[in-house]
Symmetry: C2
Subunit: 372 residues, 2 copies
């Protein structure tokens, strides 16, 4: 084999992102840390910070902490959901529904719910901060900001990514001038990036979605959902992706802020299925089934408030339960392939993933010899 | 590259199945034909007959017709669902729900519903016929027959496959002495093979399911769901599968009995999403969204009768609509990647798939050189 084309010629997105191996650590707001992002970047992948639940100054701090730990590129992920519409009746009905669970832990629900964080689409301070700090990569979840924000970020030399769960969303991303699409399949843990949470969600699996976007859009595709090892990354590349984004695979790394019960639950995940629920945050997210997801699925459950207003209640209920030693109402986000999770330091995990990927790709190449 | 290990040493299931290329045409009861199965087998893959909706003599005829067209191995798929439990009240409520749709086409619903075909688990004539005809491969969907039937088929030298949608089902298949597992992801068109339709279905995507079964069972895995081209087959092999089973990819072949409106809908599928519905047959199956799937998803829809009793109503309603020129109530089963469907003769399609697979595998191999 005399093939010497460098990887970045085969997967040009890697050169654009400035990374050596086609591995992106998913942003995972509330789980990822500067230490995690920096470790992944230093190991040759693309680390990410999820700042969707932070204000501009907290996000700036996280970016600076990451820069102190790596000179390489990393990704800063912001949420682009339509801002919540307050609906006092719906919010009170939801709080009333949760009240017996608060009572179980000797707590009372909050009197009212707040929209606990701003969408980047209206957060001028966050936008200004990004233009000042200029992270190498910015990614969008739940939709896209307006053309002015996109242009400003591009003009600042920032590479832009956005999540799509369907071909229509991918086409919108393409039309908006984004650099690459994160194709998020139904397997993925955490929040589904659907643009319009009230629209019908076909729930496309990673396999179908990645192949459709790789063949029916012109942008490079990053595969996400159900990818836990190098074989999975090789499969994503076979489907035409330029890189794979892994979230659940990184949660049990010591560099995250996942708490003890979450780590334990992840590593014993064969005992609990994952489910998509709106009950915790107001938007569909996949996590390990627990009493909170059951509450959301129960017959007669009222409609949740808008995202992220419902999350105000969800976080309060979890805090009340946690104060009494219960993790039954935690948001333990996880993807469908969580039984394959490993607890390794991030640098070791990236090295293992890269080595498994090389072995899988080599195996396929050897198979090709016999396929003629 | 001096690699000369034959493909059947890398993918030993192929030798067991007696085929040259890791491509299995999904059985697709009501769509596949002896001509399709034979064409796929003659092209080096494994053709399949879906006889779940036939009685033993019709199935014998289909097997003999296939044998007249090929001397190679093919697969005969039987349904192993728990027999329907009659429930007159539920059936009448369902018929009452459908009655206005029948009326729309100048028809009346049947007075009562029948269990329109027998499960192989109670069909002694089908079992005796299989032992007489001895097809090379028999596959099970919706569960497993009892140990006696499995032993008899094995003793007759028949290779056995069974569908799994979860790790628990895969473990049951392994324990039963089956030769390989068809890992059917949520992307797949047609009926989900879940063993117990009343249990919670995690809805595992192909990517997650195949990788979990490949790593957590000892049996060879056949990937199914969302695979439409050779890149998809390469991805399945990267995930550790020994072969890929494609259904939707074959529906538009001229050798199937899909009707005109179904073919047209498939090839224009970008206009309609696929959905899982119980409304048509009584069990979850994925097809192109239409008025029938809407009816099933409507608020206040009554519970469907058991499978396949509900299908008696479904087929009658489709027949009434079709008689008036409407395909609005057809069972147009299709997987999520249906926008990638091609209308090619089966032999050409298998040749294209094999060639694309080789190219994808070679591409991965070349990539491996640069991954170090």
């Amino acid at each position: 084999m005399t093939q010497t084309t460098p990887i970045a010629d085969r997967l040009p997105l890697l050169r654009r992102l400035g990374i050596r191996t086609p591995i992106i650590q998913a942003p995972m707001a509330g789980v990822s840390t500067p230490a995690l992002a920096a470790a992944v970047t230093n190991a040759g992948g693309l680390g990410s910070l999820g700042v969707g639940a932070m204000d501009a100054e907290a996000a700036r701090k996280a970016i600076r902490e990451t820069r102190a730990l790596t000179s390489g590129p990393f990704n800063v992920n912001v949420f682009c959901h339509a801002p919540a519409v307050a609906d006092a009746a719906r919010e009170q009905a939801w709080l009333a529904y949760l009240a017996p669970r608060f009572a179980e832990f000797g707590a009372t629900p909050p009197a009212a719910l707040r929209e606990i964080y701003r969408s980047y689409v209206t957060d001028d301070a966050m936008h200004a901060m990004l233009l000042e700090e200029r992270p190498a990569v910015v990614s969008f979840h739940f939709g896209l900001p307006d053309a002015g924000r996109i242009r400003a970020l591009r003009d600042a030399g920032i590479v832009l990514l956005a999540s799509a769960t369907s071909l229509d969303e991918a086409r919108a991303i393409e039309a908006a001038g984004i650099d690459a699409i994160v194709a998020q399949g139904i397997e993925a843990g955490g929040h589904r990036g659907v643009f319009d949470p009230s629209a019908v969600d076909e729930g496309l699996g990673t396999f179908a979605l990645v192949r459709m976007l790789a063949t029916q859009t012109r942008l490079p595709v990053i595969a996400a959902g159900g990818i836990m090892d190098g074989a999975g990354i090789a499969a994503a590349l076979a489907l035409g992706a330029h890189a794979a984004q892994l979230g659940t695979a990184f949660i049990a790394c010591p560099e995250t802020v996942a708490d003890g019960p979450y780590r334990e639950a992840l590593l014993q995940a064969r005992k609990r299925p994952t489910v998509l629920t709106r009950a915790i945050s107001g938007r569909h997210a996949r996590g390990l089934a627990n009493r909170f997801t059951e509450l959301g699925a129960a017959a007669g459950a009222p409609a949740t408030p808008d995202y992220p207003t419902a999350y105000d209640a969800g976080k309060a209920l979890h805090a009340a339960a946690k104060a009494r030693g219960s993790a039954d109402f935690a948001a333990q986000w996880a993807g469908q392939a969580v039984p394959l999770a490993r607890a390794l330091p991030a640098a070791e995990l990236v090295a293992a993933l890269a080595s498994e990927l090389a072995a899988s790709a080599r195996g396929l190449g050897e198979l090709a010899e016999t396929l003629g």
